[in-house]
C-alpha cells in the first residue's frame, strides 16, 4: 500500500496501462504542453497534473497533444478505438462536453448497437468536473446526470485514491466506452492505494459507513460531505448507511435496495440540479422497488435549478453541504405518518 493523491493515482494508472498495452494511446489539450513553444514539450504534462512524464516515456505517437478541437479529439479517439487501438481522451473540463456532444452521444455511445454488435469501441473519456472553485457557470458543472441517461456509455465517478486506481484500470481494459469523471476538488485527496494490479468491477457500490437509520446515496465530492454529516449525526445517535455508488451506469441496484430495506429512509445527495437527474432516477428506483420499506418520503439534497454561480457566497449556497445533509436527515428522522 502506498499513500497517494488522486491526481497521481490517475497518472500512475495510465502509466501502468500504457506499459502493459502497446495499443493504448491518449489524446487531449496540453496533456503534454509546451509543444511548438520555446520551453519545449512536456513543459506541463497536463493542466491537472495527470499526465506528467508520459510523453517522455511513450512518445508523441501515443501521448498526443491536440489543438483546441474537442469534437476532433473524441472523434479521433473513437476512430482509433474502432480500428484496433485503445484510447483515453481527456476533455479538460467536463463542461466542454457541449462542444463534442455529437461524437459522444450519436457516435461513440451507439456504434456497437447500430452496427449489430459487430464492433467494440474501447475508449475512456476522462473529464474533470464539478464545482467548488468559483470557476463560474461554464467551468463548474457536473454532467453525470445526462451521460448516465445515454444507453451505450458506462459512467464512473471515483471518490477515493484506491477507487480511482481500480476503476480507471477497469475503464481502460473495458471494451465498452466509459465516461470517467474526476472531481476537480478531489484531485488532492490522499489515501491508501493497493500496489500492483488492482481492478474494481463496475456496478458495485462501496459501503462507506454502516448505520440502521438512514441510507445515504452519494457520488464524487458528495461522498465526503455525507461522511461529515454522518459523523455529526452519529453524535445524536442517528446511524447512516452511506453508499458511494462509484458507477452510475451500471448501477448497483441491489446494494441500494438492500440498504433501504434495512433503514427504511433514503437521502440522496447529488451535485446536479434536481430535475431529471441522477437523484430523481435513484428516487424512482426506490419508490418502485422498495416502497413498502419506506418510513418517510425520500429526500434529496441537490443543487438548485440554476447554473453554477461565480461569487463565493453564491457558489456555497448553490452546493450541497454537510449542514444541508444533516438538516435533511433530521427531517427524515422526525417524520411521522399523518
Amino acid at each position: 500500500m502506498a499513500i497517494k493523491m488522486i491526481r497521481d493515482v490517475i497518472r500512475d494508472t495510465i502509466d501502468a496501462e500504457m506499459a502493459r498495452d502497446d495499443s493504448l494511446i491518449m489524446l487531449g489539450e496540453d496533456i503534454v504542453g509546451g509543444n511548438g513553444a520555446p520551453g519545449g514539450p512536456e513543459a506541463i504534462g497536463g493542466i491537472w497534473g495527470t499526465s506528467g512524464g508520459l510523453w517522455a516515456k511513450y512518445g508523441a505517437d501515443r501521448v498526443i497533444d491536440t489543438p483546441i478541437s474537442e469534437s476532433a479529439i473524441i472523434g479521433a479517439a473513437a476512430g482509433a478505438a474502432l480500428t484496433g487501438k485503445r484510447a483515453i481522451a481527456e476533455i479538460m473540463f467536463a463542461d466542454f462536453i457541449g462542444v463534442c456532444m455529437d461524437q459522444i452521444w450519436n457516435q461513440v455511445a451507439k456504434f456497437r448497437y447500430m452496427f449489430g454488435g459487430k464492433t467494440t469501441c474501447p475508449l475512456v473519456i476522462r473529464m474533470p468536473y464539478g464545482a467548488g472553485f468559483n470557476a463560474a457557470p461554464q467551468h463548474s458543472q457536473v454532467i453525470h446526470q445526462f451521460v448516465t441517461a445515454m444507453p451505450g456509455l458506462k459512467v464512473v465517478m471515483p471518490s477515493t485514491p484506491a477507487d480511482a486506481k481500480g476503476l480507471l484500470t477497469q475503464a481502460i481494459r473495458d471494451d465498452d466506452p466509459v465516461i470517467f469523471l474526476e472531481h476537480k476538488a478531489l484531485y488532492g485527496v490522499k489515501g491508501e492505494v493497493p500496489d500492483g494490479d488492482y481492478v474494481i468491477p463496475f456496478g458495485h457500490a462501496r459501503q462507506v459507513t454502516q448505520g440502521d437509520d438512514i441510507t445515504i446515496l452519494a457520488t464524487g465530492m458528495m461522498v465526503g460531505f455525507a461522511e461529515k454529516a454522518a459523523a455529526q449525526l452519529a453524535q445524536d445517535g442517528i446511524g447512516c448507511d452511506i453508499l458511494d455508488l462509484r458507477t452510475t451506469s451500471p448501477l448497483d441496484e441491489e446494494a441500494i435496495l438492500d440498504s433501504v430495506e434495512r433503514t427504511g429512509r433514503l437521502l440522496i445527495v447529488d451535485e446536479a440540479p434536481p430535475r431529471c437527474s441522477f437523484a430523481t432516477d435513484l428516487s424512482a428506483l426506490v419508490a418502485q422497488k422498495a416502497f413498502a420499506s419506506l418510513k418517510a418520503p425520500i429526500d434529496m439534497v441537490t443543487a438548485p435549478h440554476s447554473p453554477v454561480p461565480f461569487a463565493r457566497e453564491l457558489e456555497s449556497a448553490y452546493l450541497p453541504s454537510p449542514d444541508k445533509i444533516v438538516a435533511s436527515a433530521v427531517k427524515l428522522m422526525s417524520y411521522r405518518r399523518g
Binding site: 509546451g34 511548438g36 520555446p38 483546441i68 462542444v99 463560474a136 461565480f310
Partner: protein, 320 residues
C-alpha cells in the same frame, strides 16, 4: 495618422486603463482577494483598443476568456467590472459570471466567454442584426480558438451570408501551454481565413496605429456589403495563461524581452511623442488619472455589497 489630439489621448487612456486594471488584478489575486480563474489581457491592449476605437454602441463585439481588455475598450464601466470580478452583487453581472463572463448589451459587448471558440458563431448572428443596422460585428478569437470547428463554421457561414463580420485573431503565440507553431496547421491563420473566401490581412498588434488603420479599411469594406473579413494581430501576453500559471513553456528571458521590446504602451508613447503629436506630460497626466480610477475601483469593489443565497435563483428565467 489623422487622429486628433483628443482621439489620441482617448486611445492611450483606454490602453492604460486596461494595463493598470490587469496589473492591479495580478497583485490582488496574489493576495488571495479574488476567487476563480482570471486570464489577464495585459500586453494585448493595442488590439482591443485599435479595433474598438472605431465602434459605437450598436456595433457588436464578442470576446473570449481573456476578456477584460475587450470589455474596457468597448466601453463597459470599469467600476462595475471590478465589482463583478470581486463577486459583488453590484457587479456588472451581479456576481453571477465573474471575470470570464463580463457582458454589457448596452454597449454592444456580447460577453467574455468560458468556452473557447463559442464566440465566432454568435458574432455571425450579431452580424445579421448589424447588416440591418449598417453596423459591424466583431469576433475576437485567439490562435487557439481558431482551431475550433465552431470558428470554421462561423467563418464559412459569414461568407455564405455575406455578413459584416470581422474575425479578429489575436495571435499571442500560445494557447494555454501550447505554441501556435504546433497547433495551427495552416501556413498562417490569415492564409486559412483567405481560404474561406474572405478578405484576410495581418497587422502589428503591438502598434495601435497599425491595428487602427487596418481596421478602418476592413470596417469600410464590410459596411460596403462585401461580406466578412479577417485580421490576424501579432501580439504578446505579458502574464501567464491564467493567474498562477508557472509558464514553463516560455523561453529563457522571454518575458523580460517582450516587456522591454514589444510593449504596445511604450510603442504608442514613443510614436506620439517623437512625432510631436502629444507631450510626455500629457500622457503622464493620463497615467495619474487612470491610476486613481483603478485605486477607486478596487477600494469600492472591496466594500461593495455581497450577494445573498436568495440571489442564486434570480435571473435563471425572466419569469417561471
Amino acid at each position: 495618422m489623422q487622429l486628433s489630439r483628443e482621439a489620441l489621448i482617448r486611445a492611450y487612456r483606454q490602453m492604460k486603463t486596461i494595463r493598470l486594471f490587469e496589473e492591479r488584478l495580478h497583485d490582488e489575486i496574489a493576495l488571495g482577494e479574488i476567487a476563480g480563474f482570471t486570464h489577464l489581457y495585459a500586453g494585448q491592449e493595442a488590439c482591443a483598443v485599435g479595433v474598438c476605437e472605431h465602434l459605437g454602441p450598436t456595433d457588436y463585439i464578442i470576446s473570449t476568456h481573456r476578456g477584460h481588455g475587450h470589455c474596457i475598450a468597448k466601453g463597459c464601466d470599469v467600476m462595475a467590472m471590478m465589482k463583478e470580478i470581486y463577486g459583488s452583487r453590484d457587479g456588472l453581472c451581479k456576481g453571477k459570471g465573474g471575470s470570464m463572463h463580463i457582458a454589457d448589451m448596452n454597449v454592444g459587448m456580447l460577453g467574455a466567454n468560458g468556452i473557447v471558440g463559442a464566440g465566432a458563431p454568435i458574432a455571425v448572428g450579431a452580424g445579421i442584426t448589424a447588416k440591418s443596422n449598417g453596423t459591424v460585428s466583431i469576433a475576437f478569437s485567439g490562435d487557439g480558438a481558431c482551431n475550433q470547428g465552431t470558428t470554421f463554421e462561423a467563418m464559412n457561414m459569414a461568407v455564405v451570408l455575406k455578413l459584416p463580420v470581422i474575425f479578429v485573431f489575436e495571435n499571442n503565440h500560445y494557447s494555454e501551454h501550447t505554441g501556435e507553431a504546433y497547433a495551427v496547421g495552416a501556413e498562417s491563420m490569415t492564409a486559412r481565413s483567405a481560404a474561406f473566401g474572405m478578405k484576410a490581412i495581418k497587422a502589428n498588434g503591438i502598434d495601435f496605429f497599425s491595428v487602427y488603420e487596418a481596421m478602418r479599411e476592413l470596417i469600410d469594406y464590410c459596411k460596403a456589403g462585401n461580406g466578412p473579413a479577417s485580421i490576424e494581430l501579432d501580439c504578446e501576453r505579458f502574464y501567464g495563461h491564467f493567474e498562477g500559471d508557472p509558464q514553463r513553456y516560455r523561453g529563457p528571458g522571454e518575458l523580460d524581452r517582450i516587456r522591454e521590446e514589444r510593449d504596445c504602451l511604450k510603442t504608442f508613447r514613443t510614436k506620439v511623442t517623437e512625432a510631436k503629436l502629444l507631450e510626455g506630460a500629457e500622457l503622464d497626466r493620463v497615467d495619474a488619472e487612470v491610476t486613481d480610477l483603478i485605486d477607486r475601483a478596487v477600494a469600492e469593489a472591496k466594500q461593495a455589497d455581497r450577494p445573498t443565497p436568495q440571489d442564486v435563483l434570480q435571473d435563471v428565467y425572466i419569469s417561471y
